[in-house]
């Protein structure tokens, strides 16, 4: 196909970064929970999906998109707290596969419940009016809403970074991830820390689901595809590393975008090819700590 120009390549690169922002937002919650709790949360996609449905429901009863941006993470976060307290907590201290299997089953239960409550068919989710349409970004037109998603991702990342690095609670979380036993000896209630981390992780998943809804509509199975892609992102970035998830998310977005330009048939495979290459060269991923899984 002819028509390759500098503008197109630049636009394609930008589209890749925008796509990467969505991966990042989804993967940081996954990575946060794994890094701190060593729980591989297979229900992350389901929390994401429920986030979109909660948004849909709130709008149907008179809310708007902007209030949802606040309300959805709170609702999903509270739901996450309940899941941690009731289901995950009894499994701490057992093998890594216990919470993995539990969350895997939980994701099926959540998807099925949503199917019962809202039906198997999807729903449209309109882009908020002020964010509709495309704007000229210098190299071509790009949807305004996707720019907003990039901005929202940056805000979440900044808030998370400030929380973890600049608050005393963040310090406890980081210490708890390094060595929970010493933290416990120092008189800190580690289980409370883990509870809150799980809540934050799921809240971000719900937030990501809400942001994804205007891009693709809402359907019970929407968490499935992105979960597979997000696992690639966390593995490439290094399991448990938030910085790694950010870098890997953007990289995966750009790799998908660039293969789409030159060989669209290969776009889906390219993600996994990237993962294979990274794992051969650096088995723990970009910023992963070796031995976290063992």
């Amino acid at each position: 196909m002819a028509g390759l120009s500098f503008d197109l390549i630049a636009l394609q690169l930008f589209a890749g970064l925008a796509l990467g922002a969505i991966y990042v937002l989804f993967a940081i919650g996954l990575s946060l929970i794994f890094g701190m709790l060593t729980v591989v949360n297979f229900a992350h996609g389901a929390f994401y999906m429920v986030g979109a449905y909660v948004g849909l429901y709130l709008i149907s009863i008179g809310g708007n998109f902007w209030t949802c941006l606040i309300a959805v993470p709170i609702v999903i976060g509270l739901f996450g707290l309940a899941v941690e307290r009731v289901l995950i907590r009894p499994l701490y201290g057992r093998g890594i596969d216990y919470p993995l299997l539990l969350t895997f089953g939980l994701s099926y239960v959540m998807v099925e419940c949503v199917r019962i409550a809202f039906g198997k068919t999807g729903y449209p989710f309109d882009t908020p009016e002020v964010l509709q349409g495309a704007v000229d970004i210098g190299v071509g037109y790009f949807p305004l809403y996707r720019l907003f998603v990039i901005g929202a991702t940056a805000v979440v990342l900044l808030a998370l970074w400030l929380f973890l690095e600049k608050t005393s609670f963040g310090l406890i979380i980081r210490a708890g991830a390094r060595d929970p036993q010493i933290v416990r000896v120092l008189g800190v209630d580690v289980s409370r820390v883990w509870l809150i981390v799980f809540g934050i992780g799921t809240a971000i998943a719900g937030f990501a689901g809400l942001l994804a809804a205007p891009l693709q509509g809402v359907i019970p199975e929407m968490g499935g595809t992105i979960l597979a892609e997000a696992f690639v992102v966390t593995v490439v970035g290094g399991m448990g590393s938030i910085g790694g998830a950010v870098l890997a998310g953007l990289l995966v977005g750009v790799v998908v975008s660039m293969t789409s330009l030159f060989a669209p048939e290969m776009a889906k495979v390219s993600i996994f090819a990237l993962m294979a290459i990274v794992l051969i060269v650096r088995p723990q991923g970009f910023f992963g700590r070796a031995g976290l899984m063992s």
């Binding site: 196909m1 999807g122 449209p124 891009l215 992105i226 789409s260």
Partner: protein, 417 residues
């Protein structure tokens, strides 16, 4: 007195236990099959469709309308009092799953006929099973391959349109009107490939210029990396050949990218259920084809009757395109059963071949050589304003009347004439 009652109670309990255990033994024994095979056993129609997955919305409509055809048959007295029954299975849009479910329908459920499928690829897997077992299969989903000699068998019928007819009708309308420079965005499997082949075939008559064909895997949720390239090709027409949720998302994101400002989007098929699921904004102004739209009820009494029956059964809801196919697929088989006076395969095949019918969309018949239903194709445009009800989503732009000249010839398909 109390003693007596207690005694009677204990006997009935014992009797209950005996009956129940006898029932249980019967249920697992091979006798059961013989009992069910008796004259009064229902006529079973296996119905494998992708209830979950990207085509779920359409598949549920197929089931609803299929149930209506069965209910009408039963209300009219069935086959001399013998009732029909729809045995629905979820094929999950997966050829392997569909083959297993179909085999199960044939072997375990002992279905008399199979109607269903919603995928150009999956229906071939179903057809492989039914062909081998000598069971009639009426496919209600688009495919060109199913007409071809390699896949065809005398048990294979095709109630749906095929891609050649559909893209032909849409292409003849669009290429004359919107321009000659065409770019394609295509789902990378049989459906998409067959549609593009059809568009390029009809495009020869109009001297269209093919600027490029970008293919995406089935079940894609983000098209943002494909759209800038398509936009840069500067086509007059962007032809998006995908279906179900893929179509919903592709059209939504193409709208977000502002593609509709300078480019006319066409699709071989515009699905009613997808249009409802995605909302008016995403589909606004898109032109495509379909096999059925409830709005043709002014034109055909059969459409009016079908719409009314459907409304009555489903609280005022109107049938969709794929719903109508579910109805047509099941009804033709049951009418043939009535005509043949039997469920014997050979007699029903002969009755289907002889059928000249008008059940929901005007006159139709199965062509002798490939059992393709010769029928009209509607060219429609999505509405975004002046909608009278929630089903008022399309405007019919033109109708291509049923004519064998719009089908590939029997010789071209490899059939001996």
């Amino acid at each position: 007195m109390t003693k007596k009652v207690a005694k009677a109670g204990s006997i009935s309990r014992r009797r209950l236990l005996t009956t129940a255990s006898a029932g249980a033994v019967l249920a697992v024994s091979p006798f059961r099959i013989n009992l069910l095979q008796a004259e009064e056993a229902p006529i079973k129609i296996g119905f494998p469709v992708p209830l979950t997955g990207p085509y779920g919305a359409e598949a549920q409509d197929q089931v609803r309308a299929g149930q209506l055809a069965v209910a009408q048959f039963n209300d009219a007295g069935g086959l001399n009092g013998r009732k029909a029954e729809l045995v629905v299975r979820d094929d999950k849009l997966n050829p392997g799953e569909a083959a297993t479910r179909t085999l199960e329908l044939v072997e375990k459920e002992k279905v008399n006929f199979v109607v269903g499928s919603l995928s150009a690829a999956v229906q071939l897997a179903i057809n492989n099973v039914t062909k081998e077992r000598g069971v009639i299969f009426n496919s209600i989903s688009q495919s060109d391959a199913i007409n071809e000699a390699a896949d065809f068998s005398k048990f294979t019928f095709h109630e749906a349109l095929n891609p050649h007819m559909t893209s032909g009708a849409v292409g003849r309308y669009a290429f004359a009107k919107f321009g000659k420079k065409v770019a394609f965005l295509t789902a990378d499997y049989a459906y998409g490939h067959e549609m593009v082949r059809g568009f390029l075939e009809v495009g020869k008559e109009f001297n269209i210029e093919n600027l490029g064909d970008i293919r995406h895997p089935l079940g894609t949720t983000d098209f943002s990396t494909l759209l800038p390239r398509l936009q840069a090709l500067k086509p007059d027409i962007l032809c998006i050949s995908n279906f179900g949720r893929d179509q919903q998302i592709a059209l939504k994101q193409a709208t977000d990218f502002g593609i509709k400002k300078s480019i006319q989007i066409i699709a071989p098929l515009l699905s009613h259920a997808s249009r409802v699921a995605a909302g008016p904004q995403a589909f606004e102004g898109v032109v495509g084809g379909c096999s059925f739209y409830w709005g043709i009820e002014d034109k055909f009494a059969s459409t009016k009757a079908f719409n009314d029956a459907f409304r009555k059964m489903y609280d005022g809801k109107l049938p969709t395109d794929y719903g109508a196919l579910g109805y047509g697929g099941v009804r033709t088989v049951l009418e043939a059963v009535k005509g043949a006076g039997s469920v014997e395969t050979d007699k029903v095949v002969a009755a289907l071949e002889a059928l000249k019918y008008d059940y929901y969309k005007g006159p139709q018949y199965y062509r002798k050589c490939d059992h393709q239903s010769v029928q009209s194709v509607l060219v429609i445009k999505s509405k975004s304003k002046d909608m009278k009800n929630e089903s008022d989503v399309f405007e019919v732009l033109s109708t291509e009347e049923p004519n064998e000249k719009y089908l590939r010839t029997c010789e071209a398909l490899g059939h001996k004439s």
